[in-house]
Amino acid sequence: MEKEYIHIILADDDEDDRLFFTDAFDELKINTKVQTFINGVELMNYLNEENSILPNVLFLDLNMPKKNGIECLLEIKENERFNDIAIAIYSTSSSEEHIEETFVNGANIYIKKPNDFATLKKILSDVVTLNWQYHTSGLNKDNFLLRM
């Protein structure tokens, strides 16, 4: 039976950002189920559980204690079980190094956290409704960084 909703997970250590995120999805008209984790360790523990429901889209913050975004990215990419998860990097930084590193290690898209709520809603809406196969077929750094 096909899922009717899109399953989304966010890993972010910042309480406010998690709040914005869930509120944004609450206000969007898309059918979504949103889970949040406060750091990389909690995230990986959940994903590695046998019966866990894997997300369609995973939003990864880069700067987290205990296990950061890059480490999670590497672990996820190593496990074939997670091949169908679209990974969106969701970070405050827009430095060349971070963009480069996450692109090279297999992230699907890079999002810089916006400054206002309306923009956030638009971004999230665009990202989760993206046709991922079409988007990632040309592995191209130009498409990688989400431009608004």
Binding site: D16, T92, E96, N115, F117, R147, M148
Partner: protein, 477 residues
């Protein structure tokens, strides 16, 4: 001081060296001559002795002969003729030797000739005596004896003369030899002194030179160390500043973002429930945070342009231009702007910086456009060969010249250089937003690429920004 300068020149040293060698050779030659003279002198003395001895020997033999003749005449001893013959032979030998020895002395030669003649006479008398001795009458005997004695006396006189000549020669030669010997210590002293003098001078000069070199080396090392220390200090301080700049801008972004997002949520949800003052204040807060964000973004950009690790790679400027246009897509659409460009070069550059450069320039043209006039931005690239625009000092440098021309509000050319100064603005924030950092970033980026950027403004007509990129190697074209 000039004399010292001459002392230092390498040519001077070479001349001195040649002179020293020459002096040593001269001294050696003189010494050799002196030794030779001593040698010759002693040989001469030896010669005199030889001659004297030979003459004495001759005289002795002649005297013996005379005694044997008289003896024979008296005793008629049969053994004597043989002995007389032997004596004659000896005398012949003596004469031969004396003739040879006195070849060099005219006087002696003459005298030895005389002796020879006298001896011939003597031998005649002797032979006479030998042959006719038993037929001699008493008068003949007396005559023979007398003649013999007369010749003998003559011979004696000549012999004495010869001997005295040799004695005189001997005295003279002795004198010469003595004077030579006496002057030898003086000569030795001269040699010793000159050698020691030359060596001492050389030593003193070398020592002085070495001391000078050591001093210079010490000074050089000191200066180097000071330069190194200062360099290290500057590097450390620079690194600190860069780190501070970057971290400050970066870390300030986080709380600012929160402020902005929460304010935007507040405005979205609860603006209506505030009083009209409250609403106004909230909107002003939002404006301020927007300006703050702008400032932090620009500072971050500036610190990125400043970073020391600058990686050059082959970059297609056309692609970067497209990226910039995409970044500014919204503003371009809102202002209905047109951007026209010809084919931009592909060359060695730092991609993210060039993109920043384009974005900043285009952004400026869009921002400072004329009211009610749609901005038209023309970007044109050309190749400048042989330094036609007189940009660099090197005649051979080639450049890419890229111009950004717009039809905006322009500016007074008086400020053409000032606008690149950090935080410098030509308008206040109510007229046009801005931080005064954008063009400084542009200039820093162009500097990083060892290029040049110039601005030209025409108030109410527009502005042109010209950038020159030097082409490093032939591979670029």
């Amino acid at each position: 001081m000039t004399i010292f300068k001459i002392h230092k020149s390498p040519l001077f040293i070479r001349i001195v060296f040649v002179l020293a060698v020459f002096l040593m050779l001269l001294v050696s030659a003189l010494t050799y001559r002196h030794v030779e003279s001593i040698h010759l002198s002693s040989e001469a003395i030896e010669h005199t002795y030889k001659v004297s001895i030979e003459i004495e020997d001759l005289y002795s033999n002649i005297k013996n002969l005379e005694i044997e003749r008289r003896n024979f005449l008296l005793t008629h001893n049969e053994k004597l003729p043989q002995i007389i013959l032997a004596s004659k032979a000896k005398i012949f030998l003596n004469l031969e030797r004396i003739t040879k020895l006195t070849e060099d002395n005219k006087e002696q030669a003459k005298l030895s000739n005389e002796i020879q003649n006298l001896l011939t006479q003597k031998f005649k008398i002797v032979d006479d005596a030998l042959v006719r001795f038993d037929s001699f009458s008493p008068t003949e005997l007396k005559k023979n004896l007398l003649e013999g004695r007369i010749v003998m006396e003559k011979i004696s006189i000549v012999i004495q003369k010869m001997l005295s000549i040799e004695r005189r020669l001997l005295m003279k030669r002795d004198e010469t030899s003595n004077s030579l010997t006496n002057s030898t210590p003086q000569i030795i002293f001269i040699i010793l002194f000159s050698t020691i003098a030359i060596i001492t001078l050389a030593f003193v000069k070398i020592n002085r030179d070495l001391d000078e070199m050591r001093e210079s080396k010490g000074l050089l090392e000191q200066t180097q160390k000071i330069a190194e220390d200062r360099n290290r200090e500057l590097e450390a301080s620079n690194k600190e500043l860069q780190a501070f700049n970057y971290v400050a801008s970066h870390d300030l972004q986080e709380p600012l973002r929160k402020i902005q997002t929460f304010i935007s949520r507040l405005i979205d949800k609860d603006l209506q429930s505030l009083s009209s003052n409250g609403q106004q204040y909230l909107l002003k807060i939002q404006d301020s945070t927007e300006r703050m964000r702008s400032l932090i973004d620009d500072l971050l950009q500036f610190s990125r342009a400043n970073r020391s690790e600058k990686v050059f790679e082959k970059t297609n400027f056309n692609i970067l231009l497209e990226n910039s246009k995409q970044d500014l897509a919204q503003v371009i659409e809102t202002k209905k702007a047109t951007i026209i460009s010809n084919n931009l070069p592909e060359t060695n550059a730092i991609p993210f910086q060039i993109q920043q450069l384009f974005t900043n320039l285009i952004n400026n043209s869009l921002k400072y456009s004329r009211e009610d006039v749609a901005p038209i931005i023309k970007i044109h690239s050309s190749l400048i060969e042989n330094n036609e625009d007189k940009i660099s000092k090197n005649e051979k440098t080639k450049h890419y010249k890229i111009t950004f021309e717009d039809n905006g509000i322009g500016f007074d050319n008086e400020y053409a250089e000032k606008i690149f100064v950090l935080f410098n603005r030509l308008h206040n924030k109510e007229e046009y937003s801005g931080t005064g950092i954008g063009l400084s970033i542009c200039k820093k980026i162009v500097d990083n690429h060892k290029g040049y950027i110039f601005a030209k403004g025409d108030p109410d007509k527009g502005a042109i920004f010209t950038i020159y990129f030097p082409i490093e190697s032939e591979n670029d074209i």
